[in-house]
Symmetry: C2
């Protein structure tokens, strides 16, 4: 299998498991670039796209900034399931998964860089980091981009900047985003207010898999809307600041829940654990939402710290394609739901009992006012 290397473990930036990733899970920057003299992928004939892949792919593979390549293939080399794995690991877009020969993907060893060739643009260069580390992601991608620019004549306009297939990307061609885990803001019903405020700052708030997707598992992506009139470092700086504010909001929301609704909070977390560790059938959506609440339970200290990595891994490995590829080529939805529940039960079977003492005192431990016990 082409993607075996991706299945041995999850990318470190996705399951970093430190205090730093508790709310800001990961950072991502992507640059849209095009090559002079070639039509944009959507308008190009197949032969042109094939030619471009043949030209670009070796250059990427050899670039110093990629260090070691783990995967470099044209999109016809993957099965549908393998493409879905790449999507679930956030390494390619859903749109790119629909491509075939004439498009390609190159991923480095630690999966911090993934370059899509002939997606919407000739190049979609992506860099990933755990936690809120947009500056680091920018440094890496800038280096790689500069290196590639030395070898490839980028389509660039003195006034407009980098030219892209879609006008919304013209200029920097950059989209910087942070994946945030905001269960506190969701549970305290402040999330819509926060999303509105962020939107007014010219930033976009999206679900787990980008544009137009649902905010499953209380996961939200914050990214810049505009690519004109603002330098790359300004964008990175702005999103970093807004994210820091969102982290504070989330922390405040959790503190407020602990103070005002400790039982509701403990109930949500312990129920999530109860259901995950006893179910025999779990849909992808239900599992993600429950794992999300359990993840917060770890942050709150209700569950021990080592459970976080297990939860983060499960958030990736219990998604449909990951489940199927680890088992057999084809599973029905019902079979997937069963396998998902079985895996989660097994992974959580060794978990310690929740420690809820610091939040609430059960009635059964209080003195009953009606008895003399």
């Amino acid at each position: 299998m082409k993607i075996n290397i991706l299945l041995q473990s999850s990318a470190q930036w996705l399951t970093f498991g430190s205090e730093e990733t508790s709310i800001a899970i990961s950072s991502r920057i992507r640059l849209a670039r095009n090559i002079q003299g070639y039509a944009f992928p959507t308008w190009a004939k197949k032969i042109e796209r094939l030619e471009l892949v043949e030209k670009i792919k070796p250059l990427i593979e050899k670039s110093r900034a990629m260090t070691e390549v783990s995967l470099s293939e044209t999109m016809d080399c993957f099965t549908q399931l393998e493409k879905q794995i790449l999507v679930e690991q956030h390494l390619i877009s859903r749109e790119h998964a629909a491509k075939s020969a004439g498009s390609a993907v190159v991923i480095n060893k630690d999966r911090t860089v993934s370059i899509m060739v002939n997606e919407e643009d000739h190049l979609r260069i992506q860099s990933f980091q755990p936690a809120l580390r947009l500056h680091e992601a920018w440094k890496l991608i800038d280096e790689l981009d500069t290196e590639l620019e030395e070898k490839l004549p980028y389509a660039f306009h003195d006034k407009l900047g980098y030219l892209t297939a879609c006008p919304t990307n013209v200029g920097t061609g950059m989209r910087a985003s942070v994946m945030l885990h905001l269960p506190g803001l969701v549970l305290s019903e402040q999330i819509n207010q926060v999303i509105q405020a962020v939107s007014k700052l010219g930033l976009a708030v999206r679900g787990l898999y980008g544009e137009g997707t649902e905010a499953l598992g209380n996961l939200f992506q914050i990214s810049n809307q505009t690519t004109l009139g603002e330098s790359e470092t300004d964008i990175v700086e702005r999103i970093t600041k807004v994210t820091q504010q969102l982290i504070t909001h989330e922390q405040n929301a959790r503190a407020m829940l602990i103070e005002k609704k400790p039982r509701m909070l403990v109930d949500q977390v312990c129920r999530a654990f109860g259901i995950l560790s006893s179910s025999f059938s779990l849909s992808s959506k239900e599992a993600l939402n429950l794992l999300s609440i359990l993840r917060m339970g770890v942050d709150l200290g209700i569950f021990p710290y080592n459970l976080r990595t297990i939860v983060d891994e499960l958030m990736i490995t219990t998604q449909p394609a990951h489940l199927q590829i680890c088992w057999k080529s084809k599973l029905t939805t019902e079979e997937r739901d069963a396998l998902r529940a079985d895996l989660i039960r097994k992974k959580l079977s060794g978990a310690k009992k929740p420690d809820t003492k610091k939040f609430i005192k059960p009635y059964t431990e209080e003195k009953n006012p009606n008895t003399n016990e």
Copy 2:
């Protein structure tokens, strides 16, 4: 407290805990009787009702068939909460709980007989038995009724039979009913069909607290609709036969689920246990529905047999009035939900892990076709 004796343990017929009560939980017969020369309670003046209570109550208390009386009070002696306890233990009707002086209730020691004085009729004599034991219930109530008839001039018409306040009770004045636990028919979506079939036989199907109430916890009451043209023993015989058929239907539904949808069944049962044993807030309705599924889990052998009595007890003791009276006089809904969850967690804390092996084999125990492990 007047009703202390009712709180020390539940009535044996409600928590019988044998194989016999697995589907048919309990049987109940009530007779409506009125005394010649007195207006029906709704039409009677207060003074007439007080007079009748004073006349009847001592006669009931002294009757041989009552053996020992545990509670004999006029309805003004109870607090609202105590009345609700009597309703939750099925000893008085919701309507009777609204009564005050001028109405009374007499209950025997083992709570197999409860007589309401001046409910809708002068006398509503009730007898209770565990499981499907309508014949036994009839024997007991017939004896008591005959004894009372010797001392009280019942309103009786040669052609119509016993005269009652509501024409639907004229004749035998009898309503015989069986409480059935039918989670298999509910889960296999056959319940509506079954209810329709039973209705066509002239029997009524109702929820947990009788007429107009919801079928919470998969609990259904089957009773006769008519009181004219059929003898008491014929009614008892007919309901017994229909109930036996319903028990078979429920057994078949469970067998079908075990064969066709074992994972769904195990998932439902284990989830119910998972939620009950980890929640910190449970509404009365959610608790009852989950306890109902767990009860079936015991019947199926997923949980050990001794859990049944615990579950049956919890179905009564976690109801609003029982919770409040055992704790303090007044609890908000939120406090009740918290106390309920705490009590259930405590009661289930010693329960053994579910044994699901005979129904399904988890994927994680199968040989993965993609590995050589």
